[in-house]
Point group: C2
Chain length 224, copies 2
DNA sequence: ACCTGAACACCGTTCAAGT
DNA sequence: ACCTGAACACCGTTCAAGT
């Protein structure tokens, strides 16, 4: 933090793109997509809504920038290889969306988001290292990305329905609903109601990643 | 409409929930989420926006009902078994979302949508028939559903960016962008740019389903 | 009971006027 | 150049008044 000696209040700081995006992230984390609007954001930064347009193009760009902020640094660039490397990347994205559900919504809504490209590249690199035929790499990396985004989107939607720490209640009542379904029409869902109540989202997410990884080995890997 | 003494408007039929939902589907199919609003819908049905609230609770319920209309009947209840049955269900959902992208967005946004329960049940029933251990069935069915929803969400987002028949151009220019990426930073994505241009969405979707199915066989099937 | 459409409460965005 | 906030154009929803 270089610069000014007097640090008396936030009003003394100039309005910058970075401060706007950070304030947006704070509002989004605290209240979700619904809480963010330009009047509210202006109030938070002690200015009017119009001022923000000197630094961001509009709401879409603001949401995109906020998503970038919370996702850009989470993709691991460690030295893990093979299945573990894929798991590590997938989990990092899962955890980031779990912490910032609105970012998950955003990613599923904007297929051109720069962060998606970086996730795809990282997954693809690790998939390539598994030794599939070239012709199957693209499909495998896409499958992993789409699965991660699918879970992220559902996670974000669930967070919207059970915002606070009411997650347990939400799962519990959903499980109760499942348990009371007509056994003739919903035999499977009824049977797994207990597993819904007790399951761990993160573990189950990883189980899905492992399923795809096992499929890659079974279908695609050149002999080892 | 000559001779009509009591009915002064030009509306030929009474306003019903079904007619409203059908008109909404028509607008959504023609112009996407952006084209649907209560004033427009009222105009289409020769009435004011307020009249619609006598038949639908609000916009959320209207979108939910519209999604149900285009997805309820597509889930196959045929006599396919095993992997083919799973593929059939997944493809049916894929095709429905491909034909009505806004419905894909809706499904990824509302995890409690009744259609999701039916898709989950159907997938789960077919997964169970594969003979996995009970403890793994829930995770496998969830993985399939999340993958289907992930692809559906991305598909819907792509449709929003390339609305008309401009899909080829969209893919082409995306592939061109990928081909020009920095080979040091994006080696994988750069290499698969050609595959992006030439790939078939439906085939690639099915490849992902097959990956998960192969994983189920490799990891979970009881028969050894 | 059903319908009507003006009115209300928002919210993204613009722009003339200020510093 | 940057900021301000009133104003504009929407849009979901409500409601008093009509049939």
């Amino acid at each position: 933090m270089p610069g000014s000696a007097h640090h008396t209040g936030r009003r003394s700081d100039a309005l910058t793109r970075q401060r706007i995006v950070e304030a947006a992230v704070a509002i989004l984390d605290a209240e979700g997509e619904r809480g963010l609007n330009f009047r509210r954001l202006g109030r938070e930064l002690s200015t009017g809504p119009g001022a923000l347009y000197h630094h961001v193009a509009g709401k879409d760009e603001l949401l995109s920038a906020a998503t970038e902020v919370v996702l850009a640094d989470v993709i691991p660039t460690g030295d893990a290889r093979g299945d573990d490397a894929v798991r590590e990347v997938a989990l990092a994205v899962f955890d980031a969306i779990d912490a910032h559900p609105w970012a998950g919504t955003q990613l599923t809504l904007t297929p051109t988001h720069p962060t998606l490209l970086r996730i795809f590249e990282t997954l693809g690199g690790h998939v390539r290292a598994l030794g599939m035929p070239r012709s199957a790499e693209f499909a495998a990396a896409s499958a992993l990305l789409n699965y991660v985004l699918g879970v992220g989107g559902q996670n974000a939607a669930n967070a919207r329905m059970a915002p606070a720490g009411s997650r347990g209640d939400f799962l519990g009542s959903a499980a109760a609903t499942w348990a009371q379904l007509d056994p003739a029409e919903f035999p499977f869902t009824r049977d797994v109601a207990d597993q819904l109540r007790e399951h761990d989202d993160r573990e189950q997410f990883l189980a899905g990643v492992d399923l795809i990884l096992a499929g890659i080995r079974a279908l695609g890997v050149t002999r080892r």
